[in-house]
Symmetry: C2
Subunit: 105 residues, 2 copies
DNA sequence: TTCGTATATCGTAAATATACGATATATTAC
DNA sequence: GTAATATATCGTATATTTACGATATACGAA
C-alpha cells in the first residue's frame, strides 16, 4: 500500500486539507462566486459562465457537493444549485481558526 | 491539449486555488503547525514528526516553498525552515476576502 | 582526504484529478 | 407515446500527486 497514509494525521488537519482540496481549482472558486452572486443557478447557467464542457462542470459541482459547500435540488429535469450557507460559514471558521493559530497573524 | 484550461480563469481565482492546493494535504498543514510551534526546524526534525519518509516530506516542503508559505535557509549540510510570515498573512487575507464576499458570512 | 550526516532530487509505481465526448436517465412538451 | 431538453454518469486519455527507495551532492569532522 503506497498511498493514503492520510489516516494517520489528526482529524482537524484532514478536515482542513479536505476542504482546501475542494477549493483548489479556479473553476470551483468561480462556481462558488457565481452561486453567491445569483443566489441559485441550474447547471446549464453555470456551464454557460464557465469555459469548460458540461460534463466537466458537472464533475466540479460534484466535488463541491462532496464537501457540502453547495446543495443541489432536483427540479424536474434540472438541478438547482445554491451555496450551503451553514457549511460556508463553518469553512470560514475552520480557516479563521487555522490562521489565528499562527503567531504572526 | 486536454488539461490546463486554467489560464482562462481570473487571476484572483487562480491565486486562491493555487494556495488552496498547497494546503490540500494534511502533512503540509501539519508542517505549517510544527513550524509555527517550534519557530524553525531542520528537515530531519520535521521528518521525525511526520509519519512519512524523508523524501516524501522533502517533496511536501518543496510544495510549501513553491507558494512561499515557508522559507528554507541552507545552514551547512542542513536546511532550516520557517514560516514566511508575510505570505502567511497575505494568504490569511486572501481567504478572509473570499469569505467576506459571501453574503452569508 | 576520507567518512559520516543531512537533504534534495531521480526514478518509478500507483492513485487521483482534469477534461472531453458519448450515453443513460428523467422530465416536460407535443 | 414520441421528441426535446437537462444533466449525471461512463469510458477514456492525459496530467498531476503521492509515496518510496536509491542516489547525488554538499558540508563538517576526523
Amino acid at each position: 500500500m503506497s498511498l493514503a497514509k492520510t489516516e494517520t494525521f489528526n482529524q482537524s488537519d484532514k478536515e482542513l486539507a479536505n476542504v482546501a482540496k475542494a477549493l483548489s481549482h479556479p473553476a470551483r472558486i468561480s462556481i462558488l462566486r457565481i452561486l453567491n452572486e445569483l443566489n441559485s443557478c441550474i447547471t446549464g447557467e453555470i456551464v454557460e459562465l464557465i469555459p469548460l464542457s458540461q460534463s466537466t462542470v458537472s464533475q466540479h459541482l460534484k466535488e463541491l457537493k462532496r464537501v457540502n459547500l453547495i446543495k443541489g435540488e432536483i427540479e424536474g429535469p434540472r438541478t438547482c444549485y445554491c451555496l450551503n450557507e451553514t457549511v460556508i460559514e463553518k469553512t470560514k471558521s475552520i480557516f479563521t481558526t487555522l490562521f489565528s493559530t499562527f503567531k504572526c497573524c
